[in-house]
Amino acid sequence: MAEKQSNGLVKYFLIAISVIFLFLFLVLPLYVVVTEAFKKGAEQYWQAVSDEYTVKAILLTLEATVFAVVINTVFGVFAAWAVTKFRFEGKKVLTTLIDLPVTVSPIIAGLIYVLTFGRQSILYPLLEKYDIKIVFAVPGIVLATIFVTFPFVSRELIPVLESQGTDEEEAAALMGANGSTIFRRVTFPHIKWALLYGVVLCASRAMGEFGAVSVLSGHLRGKTNTLPLHVEILFNEFQYMPAFAVSSILVVMAILLLIIRSIIEHKGKKETEIR
C-alpha cells in the first residue's frame, strides 16, 4: 500500500517537473510569438501573412523542405540498411560522417558551400561557363537544407534496425526473396514508425533552418528568401508585429505536421491491433 502511494507521488512529481520544464522553455516563448503576432489585431495579422513576399517565402520554404525530405529519406533508408545489415570496415567512421552535419555550426555549413561553389572556388569558372548558379540561388538553399537535416532519417532508423537484427532478412534471402521484396515485406514494417518520426523531424528542422541558409541566400527579396530569412528581414525593418506573424506561420506548419503524424500513427496502430 505504501509502495503504491509513493509510486503515485513519484509519478506526479515527474509529471510536474516535465510540465514545468516544457512550460518554461517551450510554452512561454511560443506565447511571446503568438501575443506579439496578434498585438495589432487579426486584420493586421492577416495582412502580414498574406503579403506578396511572405507568400513567396512560404513557397520557397516548402520547396526546400520537400527536396530535403525526399533526398534525406531515400538516403536515410539506404544508409541505415547498409550500416545495420552488413559488416564492413570503416562503419564507425561512416556513421560518424553521417551524423556530422547536425553538429556542424550552421555558419560553417553555409561557408563550406560558398567556398565550394562560390567565386573563390576552382569550380567557379566551370559553373559560370554553363551559367549554373548554386550559391545565392535556390539550389544553394536546397543544398544547405539537405545538409543540416542530413542524418535525421537515418538516425531514427539505425537503432531500430540494429535492435531488430538480421535474422529475418537472412531467412528471407535464403528462401530466395530478392532485395526489394525483403525490404518491403520484412524490414519496412519494423521501421515505418521510426521513418515517420524521422521524416517529421527532418521536415520541421528543414522549415526552420536559418543560419546556413542565411549565409547562402543573398537575401534577394522575393527570390531567395525563405520564411526564417523573411522573418529576419522584417525584424530588421523594425516590423516586429509582422515578423512574429510570419514566425507564427512556421509554428502552424509545424503543428500541422505533427497532427498529420499523429493521425497516421493512430490509424496505423489501430490496423496492427485489428490484425
Partner: protein, 353 residues
C-alpha cells in the same frame, strides 16, 4: 546478379574517391539537373536590376525604387524591376565578392565597396564615377537616450561616467559601428590634444560601459528599444529618427558636439552589368539618386541629402551645426581600418587584458 551489384558499388566508391580527391568535375552534372529550373526566370526584354544594400536603407530604397521605375518608364518606355537585398554591410560586400549577382551595390562604407573591387568585380576609380565621392546621401552618428535624458548625457565624455550603460554594435561585424567608434576617437583626440595613449584610454572607457555588443546596428536598436537595455544608444542619425517616429514619447536624440560625416558609397558592379547587359540602367539608377526628387526622398527618410540646397530645406530636421570630421581625417578607409579594426588593431587591444 551479385556481380552487377558489386560493380555498381565499386564504381560508386571510385567515383566518390575521385571526386573527393581532385575537386570534382562531375558535381556540375548533378547540380545542373537541379538548376535548369532556375535559369529561365531571368532575361526577358525588360530590365531587372539587383541592388545589394545594407540594413538601414530599406525604407529609402523601397521609396526610391518606385520613383525610379516611373522615371525609367518616362525616359526609355521600358519597365524596370528592382530586387533588393539588405543585410550587414560587410556581409553583403562579401556575398557580392563571392558571386551574388548585384548590378549595383549601395553600402555603408567605401571600404566595403573596395572589398568588392578587390575581388575584381568593380574597376578602379569607382569613387569618382558619381558626384560627391559617390555618396548621394550622408548621415552622422548621434545618441538616442530615454525621454527626459535621466542620465544627463550631452556629449561623448558623458559616456565614460560610472553607471552609464552604452549600447553599440561590434565594429568587427557591423560597418555602421565603425563610424561610432571613429566618431568617439575623433572627439577624444581633439579633447585630449591628440595624445594617442590617452585617446585610447578614453575609447576603452567607453567600451567598458558597453552592456551589449550586438552584431549589427538593427540588433543594437532592438536591444535598446525593445528590451530596454542601457541608457544611451550610439546610432546612425536616420535610425535614431526612425525610433523617435515609432515611439515619440519614449526617446530623444542628443547630438554630440563633434561627430563624423558618414558617407555611404554607391557603385556599379562592372563585371556583372557587362555580363548581363544592364550597364545603362544600373548607371542611371545610381545617378538619378542625385536628382532633386530622389534627394528629397533621402531627406524624408532622415538621410542628409548631399545636394546642399536640398539639405537646407531640412534644416529644421537635422542639426546642421554639429562639427563633422570625415574619414579623410583618418587618412582614408584603408589606413583607418588597418590601424583600428584589423586583427590586433586598436579595437582588439581595447578588449585584450
Amino acid at each position: 546478379m551479385k556481380k552487377r551489384i558489386l560493380s555498381l558499388f565499386l564504381s560508386a566508391v571510385f567515383a566518390a574517391g575521385a571526386l573527393t580527391g581532385c575537386g570534382s568535375e562531375a558535381t556540375s552534372t548533378e547540380t545542373a539537373v537541379q538548376d535548369n529550373t532556375q535559369a529561365q526566370t531571368e532575361e526577358s526584354k525588360d530590365v531587372t536590376l539587383t541592388n545589394v544594400s545594407y540594413d538601414p536603407t530599406r525604407e529609402l530604397y523601397a521609396a526610391y525604387n518606385e520613383v525610379f521605375k516611373k522615371h525609367w518608364q518616362e525616359k526609355t518606355g521600358g519597365s524596370v524591376e528592382i530586387t533588393q537585398s539588405h543585410g550587414g554591410s560587410g556581409k553583403q560586400a562579401l556575398e557580392v565578392a563571392n558571386g551574388l549577382e548585384a548590378d549595383v551595390v549601395t553600402l555603408a562604407l567605401e571600404y566595403d565597396v573596395n572589398a568588392v573591387k578587390n575581388a575584381g568585380l568593380i574597376e578602379d576609380g569607382w569613387v569618382n564615377e558619381f558626384d560627391k565621392n559617390s555618396s548621394p546621401y550622408t548621415s552622422t552618428i548621434v545618441f538616442l537616450v530615454r525621454k527626459g535624458n535621466p542620465k544627463d548625457i550631452h556629449d561623448w565624455d558623458d559616456l565614460i561616467k560610472d553607471g552609464v550603460g552604452v549600447i553599440t554594435p561590434n565594429p568587427k561585424t557591423s560597418g555602421g559601428a565603425c563610424w561610432n567608434y571613429l566618431a568617439a576617437w575623433a572627439f577624444a583626440q581633439k579633447k585630449l590634444g591628440y595624445d594617442e595613449e590617452q585617446t585610447k584610454e578614453f575609447v576603452k572607457n567607453i567600451y567598458k560601459n558597453v552592456l551589449v555588443l550586438d552584431s549589427g546596428a538593427r540588433g543594437a536598436t532592438t536591444t535598446f528599444v525593445e528590451n530596454g537595455q542601457g541608457d544611451v544608444l550610439i546610432a546612425w542619425e536616420n535610425e535614431a529618427f526612425l525610433s523617435i517616429k515609432d515611439y515619440p514619447d519614449d526617446y530623444e536624440i542628443v547630438v554630440p558636439s563633434l561627430s563624423i560625416l558618414a558617407q555611404p558609397s554607391v557603385a556599379v558592379v562592372d563585371k556583372v552589368v557587362d555580363k548581363r547587359g544592364t550597364r545603362e540602367a544600373a548607371t542611371e539608377y545610381l545617378s538619378y539618386l542625385y536628382s532633386d526628387e530622389a534627394q528629397k526622398i533621402a531627406g524624408d527618410n532622415f538621410y542628409r541629402p548631399s545636394n546642399p540646397d536640398i539639405l537646407k530645406e531640412y534644416a529644421d530636421v537635422f542639426d546642421l551645426n554639429v562639427d563633422l570630421v570625415s574619414i579623410d581625417d583618418f587618412g582614408g578607409w584603408d589606413a583607418a581600418h588597418e590601424k583600428h579594426f584589423d586583427d590586433g588593431g586598436i579595437f582588439d587591444q581595447i578588449y585584450e587584458n
